[in-house]
């Protein structure tokens, strides 16, 4: 069932929590709401789920206006960051509670329980109480309850945020598989770009109550429409500089300038904001990274598989991220190389200039 927002907004007093937003989520699609804390992700989800009422606009399920319908009439599931299970019930009874409430036949409950427990690998734990499970298992129990219902929409509000890093990684790769072929609209809120990329599907990049961009996840990542969408989708944060395009050259400063090629070649002369992800600033020149940038190394972070250096570029701090080990020394002068073909250029209005 298609889920649609038409010109939905939310005000609380004088504060605008959600600016006018229109979105269409197709059935069976995995949709990510990506943004920092307070970007409006949870608010938007609550408006869709009926846990909160929009100030204006409509929420449609399968073309039917459900704006004023309470959550229980919408056939939805909602999983919160802090997993909620019934402590006095077994895992089995926790998972099947929505079905028992809906008076589904016992043999049908049994069939769906087996299927769901199998999917979430909870089979051996069905007779335990939630407190006897690990954090990851407890969250899988909460997820199982959301899945067993065959809801038309499933809302997952940072469901992995409270889990250990490795468990998060594991469940993250499982979730799209779990929800594929179920026909439900899945909406998943996260503040982590890496998580959005791994989950795939579609992403709405959110910034201060606006949906800055909505589209196929990898396209929003690679072709951000504006500076907010680009920034929301970058971890480590983007390197940013004010540049001037003049006479076929990109001028970052008096010291650093280069002949414009690719997208930059087509830019009309004028002032722009240049932004580039740190992995396109490399510790050595290669076939694509050719533009030298010189700076003092301020901080280094070596993780074993990759090396990160923060360096002074004029009065800004830029970051280089690269695979492998590079023995930087704090305080040294180092030549970094920019892949100028992977830079984004934004106009004064924040839109990317294509």
């Amino acid at each position: 069932m298609k889920l649609e927002l038409r010109d939905v907004s939310k005000r609380v007093g004088a504060d605008i929590h959600i600016h006018e937003t229109s979105l269409v989520f197709e059935p069976g699609a995995f949709n990510v709401l990506l943004g920092a804390t307070n970007a409006g992700k949870t608010t938007l989800m609550k408006l869709m789920a009926g846990l909160d009422m929009p100030t204006s606009g409509q929420v449609l399920y399968g073309g039917v206006d459900m704006t004023k319908a309470p959550p229980q009439e919408r056939n939805i599931s909602f999983v919160h960051q802090f997993f909620i299970n019934y402590p006095h019930l077994s895992v089995r009874d926790n998972i099947t509670s929505p079905l028992r409430l809906a008076k589904v036949r016992p043999e049908e409950i049994k069939r769906r329980l087996d299927e769901t427990a199998d999917l979430l690998r909870l089979g051996p734990m069905l007779d335990r109480r939630p407190h006897e499970l690990s954090g990851g298992q407890q969250q899988r129990c909460a997820l199982a309850r959301a899945i067993i219902k065959d809801s038309s929409a499933v809302f997952l509000d940072e469901p992995l945020a409270n889990l250990d890093y490795k468990l998060r990684e594991e469940l993250r790769s499982e979730l799209p598989v779990i929800f594929s072929n179920r026909g439900a609209v899945v909406v998943y809120a996260t503040s982590e770009p890496a998580e959005a990329l791994m989950l795939g599907g579609y992403t709405a990049a959110m910034y201060e109550g606006h949906v800055s961009q909505f589209g196929v996840t990898s396209e929003v990542y690679r072709q951000p429409a504006n500076v907010n969408a680009a920034q929301v989708f970058s971890d480590p944060p983007l390197n940013v500089a004010q540049i001037e395009k003049r006479d076929g050259k990109v001028n970052l400063s008096k010291q650093f300038n280069w002949s414009a090629r690719g997208v930059a070649a087509d830019l009309p002369d004028g002032a722009y904001t240049l932004a580039v992800r740190p992995h396109f600033v490399r510790p050595a020149a290669d076939e694509s990274a050719q533009i030298p940038l010189h700076g003092e190394v301020r901080v280094t972070e070596l993780s074993g598989s990759e090396s990160v250096a923060h360096f002074n570029l004029g009065k800004d701090i830029w970051v280089s991220q690269s695979d492998g080990l590079h023995p930087y020394k704090v305080g040294e002068q180092h030549d970094f190389y920019l892949d100028d073909t992977r830079c984004f250029f934004f106009g004064a209005d924040g839109r990317r200039v294509v």
Binding site: A36, T37, S134, G135, D164, Y165, K166, L167, E169, S173, P176, V177, S191, E192, P193, A194, L197, M198, G200, T217, S218, Y221, D235, P236, P237, H279, R298, V299, T300, E301, L302, S303, G304, S305, V308, H310, L325, V330
Partner: protein, 362 residues
């Protein structure tokens, strides 16, 4: 500042522990050098909090000794240990100004106001919070509150060690990134021994010079981020470090050759005098290649993670990840996998089998 020695420390929460399983910490024995940046990394329940509490004095270990600069502090109370601690949730006084919050640990110890003022301003400058000094802490954003918390940990010069217990868990990714590099920069400036406890490998590996990886109540490996990545001494370390972690596959040794899923596989481990136990190979996704020959696998999922792609395959029912280039495609449902011999290792009961001489680190 101090060198910290953990001398054969064991701890059980039971009064009469019977077997090894009754110990939350089985045996921990190593030194932390003065002025180092260390991380204690492991999943929930691995024993890292127990160890942290032993160092801070909240817990007295059932066995073993703890020394600061040669002095036995095992039974010393927390306040006599001269330790600063920063917790997951900011611990600050909401009704005080930022300035008074930072000054508090010093005033408590009777430091004179002129010295306090100099120190508070120095720390505020490092943390870039000078413009907030006169504000009440109550109105600050969560990341600024955590900055003040860090500042309170850093303000005393006489501490033996500063311990950070998951200090960035509640912070947004962008700010986490900023605070993490700030902390790293601060360590490079103040050179106090710092211990950073976390389950997040990125935080541990980027902050620390030496990482202590724990699980099952024991230390599995102490090493530089590079060593943990290149040569995990235990399959758990390989799995826990790296995203995705090291692939681990069951293996057999027959006729002087390692076999995985019916295919002969070259490894860097020595096959002479193999230890007893369950054999597995470990190879990182970065060192697996798609090829026309090799171990057969079924393609399950292809994830575009931005800088590269991650292919998830199944060899039998074992998940094997492969890191692919940003533009690499996979057209078939069935693929063959090749493992780079120099980076494929053998493990017996989880522990690394000695490497052949030519692969040993120089």
């Amino acid at each position: 500042m101090a060198k910290i020695k953990l001398d054969n420390i064991r701890h059980s929460y039971f009064p009469n522990p019977k077997s090894d399983d009754d110990f939350a910490l089985k045996r921990v024995h190593f030194d932390w050098e003065d002025g180092g940046a260390y991380a204690l990394l492991g999943p929930s329940g691995c024993g890292k909090t127990t160890l942290l509490n032993i160092i801070s004095g909240l817990l007295i270990p059932s066995h073993g000794k703890l020394q600061f600069d040669g002095q036995d502090v095992t039974r010393l109370s927390p306040k006599d240990r001269n330790i600063a601690q920063v917790f997951q949730f900011p611990v600050i006084y909401d009704t005080m100004t930022v300035y008074d919050n930072l000054a508090f640990p010093l005033r408590n110890r009777g430091v004179n106001e002129a010295k306090i003022d100099a120190k508070v301003r120095e720390i505020a400058a490092m943390l870039e919070i000078e413009d907030m000094l006169s504000k009440k802490a109550a109105g600050l954003s969560p990341d600024n509150k955590q900055k003040i918390s860090l500042g309170r940990g850093l303000v005393r010069e006489d501490v033996n060690v500063i311990m950070f217990d998951e200090p960035l868990t509640v912070i947004d990714p962008h700010l986490k990134w900023k605070l993490r590099s700030k902390l790293k920069e601060l360590h490079q400036q103040v050179k106090t021994t710092m211990i950073y406890v976390t389950h997040d490998q990125t935080e541990a590996l980027t902050f620390a010079d030496q990482v202590v990886v724990m699980n099952f109540g024991q230390v599995l490996q102490v090493g530089t981020p590079q060593a943990l990545f290149d040569c995990p001494e235990h399959t758990f370390v390989g799995h826990f470090i790296g995203s995705p972690g090291m692939n681990v596959l069951p293996a057999q040794v027959k006729d002087g050759q390692v076999w995985v899923a019916g295919q002969a596989v070259e490894v860097s481990s020595s096959l002479e005098s193999l230890p007893e136990g369950k054999l597995e190979i470990g190879v990182r996704p970065e060192y697996v290649r798609i090829s026309d020959t090799g171990v057969e696998a079924t393609v399950r999922n292809l994830m575009d993670v931005g800088r590269h792609k991650v292919l998830e395959t199944l060899v039998g029912d074992i998940k094997v990840h492969v890191v692919l280039g940003e533009n690499q495609q996979v057209s078939s449902d069935r693929v063959h996998l090749q493992f780079e011999p120099a980076n494929t290792r053998l493990y017996a009961d989880g522990w690394l089998v000695d490497l052949q001489h030519e692969f040993e680190e120089v």
